[in-house]
């Protein structure tokens, strides 16, 4: 069962109390029944975001977001398009460093260390915090070389083929590609390419994996395979997944954060992505504390 502390992950907000019970689609309730007992483990933050604000020039994309990402849990970021989910995710592994004009303020601590702190090498941050992108982006190299890329990069060259096989197995792709390791990865199907990208990220053994809508470009069967994979990976690696598919969040995530675009400054026209509510997925979907969350998860959004 959920502990009390788990239900108050969101830093205090003057959220409007939920009005009455929600009429939930029955399918979601069934999903929550099937949760593994692993959730009984205590929560341990891997990454803590505090008052994170990201601006692109004058435009605020993420406004004053504070949340914790917990070890061996799948955390979903949901919310309408443009609410800053991708931008926030990219502050975690400093990918926003590469975007001209992006300015990050606030603190992102990974195992207690500020990832933007002096003396922190973004290369090391990105090695520990892996990322999978919205569209599968394998290199135009062989399947093997794709997975070996990060290993070679970081000098993990002993037993290279063993490590590559291990990563492909963890990404549930080994059986499909073991006979074509030397073939160009672009010959794989979209779903296989995305699992290859997951294998490529897992190969360097990150302890946190960021996934930005990893299934949005895939067909339903490939999507199901990725979701199954996420449930398997949860015991080995901490996962943050951005999705705009609420069913997906309900199916794979232990914890869910809901973001929305809201007025940020005193100026009514200044709007940016704000964290509305963060808590156990089941609670967020069945007993949301905020009216806006309720509207979104019941499809009354917009």
């Amino acid at each position: 069962m959920k502990t009390r502390s788990e239900t108050s992950l969101t830093p205090a907000r003057d959220a409007a109390p939920s009005e009455g019970l929600l009429s939930q689609p029955a399918a979601l309730d069934v999903l929550f029944e099937q949760r593994s007992p692993a959730e009984a483990e205590p929560l341990e933050p891997v990454l803590e975001a505090r008052a994170v604000t990201v601006r692109y020039g004058a435009a605020v994309a993420v406004s004053d977001v504070s949340l914790d990402v917990h070890r061996n849990r799948v955390t979903a970021f949901i919310g309408p398009s443009g609410c800053g989910k991708t931008t926030l995710l990219r502050t975690f592994n400093r990918m926003n460093d590469l975007v001209p004009g992006a300015v990050v303020s606030g603190r992102v601590a990974y195992h207690g260390v500020d990832v933007n702190g002096a003396g922190v090498d973004p290369i090391e941050v990105r090695r520990r915090i892996g990322m999978v992108f919205q569209r599968p982006n394998p290199f135009p190299k062989s399947v093997f070389d794709n997975v070996a890329f990060g290993l070679r990069l970081h000098g993990l060259k002993d037993d290279l083929s063993g490590r590559v096989e291990e990563a492909l197995r963890r990404a549930a792709l080994w059986d499909e590609v073991k006979d074509r390791l030397g073939k160009n990865a672009l010959g794989l199907s979209g779903g296989q390419q995305q699992r290859l990208c997951i294998a490529r990220a897992l190969a360097v053994e990150p302890d946190l994996l960021l996934m930005d809508e990893p299934a949005s470009a895939l067909d339903p069967i490939s999507t199901t395979r990725i979701e199954d994979l996420l449930r398997e990976l949860r015991s080995q690696v901490t996962i943050v997944i951005v999705t705009h598919n609420m069913q997906q969040a309900a199916r794979v995530a232990d914890l869910t954060a809901f973001f929305s675009v809201e007025p940020t400054g005193g100026d009514e026209h200044e709007r940016g992505g704000v964290l509305i509510e963060y808590g156990p997925t089941e609670q967020l979907f069945t007993r949301p504390a905020d009216r806006r969350t309720e509207d979104y998860v019941t499809g009354r959004f917009g």
């Binding site: 990918m95 001209p100 290369i123 982006n137 290199f139 160009n184 490529r200 990220a201």
Partner: protein, 293 residues
């Protein structure tokens, strides 16, 4: 309004006018394309006819013979041109690719624009000016050499290689760079391991086209490498002969045999340039096909 009584789908006078304009434009462009092809055919055929008498194996295996004699060749010029172009490419390929990589992958936007502007200006500098520049830098005092000629050619090649390379760097998907960086690669590693391997087909194409361009250059070699060399030489410290300058020298000669030899040499040069241009296209389409497969 016109055509009110016409059926709603028949268009009316305005559409008819537009269709006529479109047909006219199509005809004009067809004509222009035909003229371009026709000029090429006329040039190739007439050069072939004029040089046919001197086109023999001897052209490739012998050096020039004294005035009035027949059966000479331009072996020294073919070898010289091959060496000059090879040396020039070995300078211009790395330099051009580095400039492109700097401008496209590392430079701030303003600097990149400046670099691009400089490349465009350099590409437009008359080749005789390049020849004179290298002459004042390298030849005055120390004399002509293969190196000086190759340097002059490479100065002409650099902007061609750099601009062509930059075009292919621009079509390497940003998502590939992100994938590499997200795995903890530095920008330099990303360029070396991901960007350049992906762009290599286009870089090769740009380089081959630059080779085709300078293989026939005359002006940059006029003051820098030899115009009068009639013996085979492969030492770049000394002046190297070249096909383009042989054509020039032969056609200035009062000897009619030399004139024929000039036409034959021109034909050889033309066939070489056409062949490598077509080869470049093949490399380009193979690289594209290979990337999709």
């Amino acid at each position: 309004m016109t055509g009110r009584e016409a059926s709603p789908l028949s268009g009316g006078a305005r559409l008819r006018r537009r269709r006529a304009a479109s047909a006219g434009a199509e005809l004009l462009s067809l004509l222009a394309a035909f003229v371009a092809v026709a000029v090429l055919v006329v040039v190739v055929v007439s050069i072939f006819l004029k040089g046919a008498g001197a086109l023999s194996v001897h052209l490739f295996t012998r050096t020039p013979v004294p005035f009035g004699e027949t059966g000479g060749g331009i072996e020294q010029a073919l070898i010289g041109t091959a060496e000059l172009v090879a040396l020039a490419t070995s300078i211009a390929l790395p330099a051009g690719v580095l400039v492109a990589v700097y401008a496209h992958e590392f430079a701030p936007a303003g600097v990149a624009r400046l670099v691009r502007l400089c490349l465009n200006v350099l590409a437009g500098v008359p080749t005789i000016v390049v020849g004179i520049l290298v002459f004042t830098l390298m030849v005055k005092g120390s004399g002509q050499s293969g190196w000086a000629g190759a340097l002059a050619l490479s100065i002409i090649m650099v902007p061609l290689v750099a601009r062509g390379s930059e075009e292919v760097l621009a079509v390497v998907p940003a998502t590939l760079r992100e994938a590499s960086l997200a795995l903890g690669a530095t920008r330099a590693r990303t360029v070396l391991r991901v960007v350049l391997p992906t762009a290599v087909g286009g870089i090769v194409t740009a380089t081959i086209l630059a080779v085709a361009r300078v293989a026939g250059e005359t002006a940059p070699l006029l003051f820098t490498s030899s115009i009068a060399a009639t013996t085979v030489n492969t030492d770049p410290q000394r002046p190297l002969a070249s096909v383009a300058l042989s054509i020039f020298a032969d056609s200035e000669s009062p000897d009619p045999h030399a004139h024929q030899e000039a036409w034959a040499a021109a034909f050889v040069l033309l066939v070489f340039v056409l062949a490598i241009s077509i080869g470049a296209r093949l490399v380009a389409s193979r690289a594209r096909g290979g990337r999709l497969r």
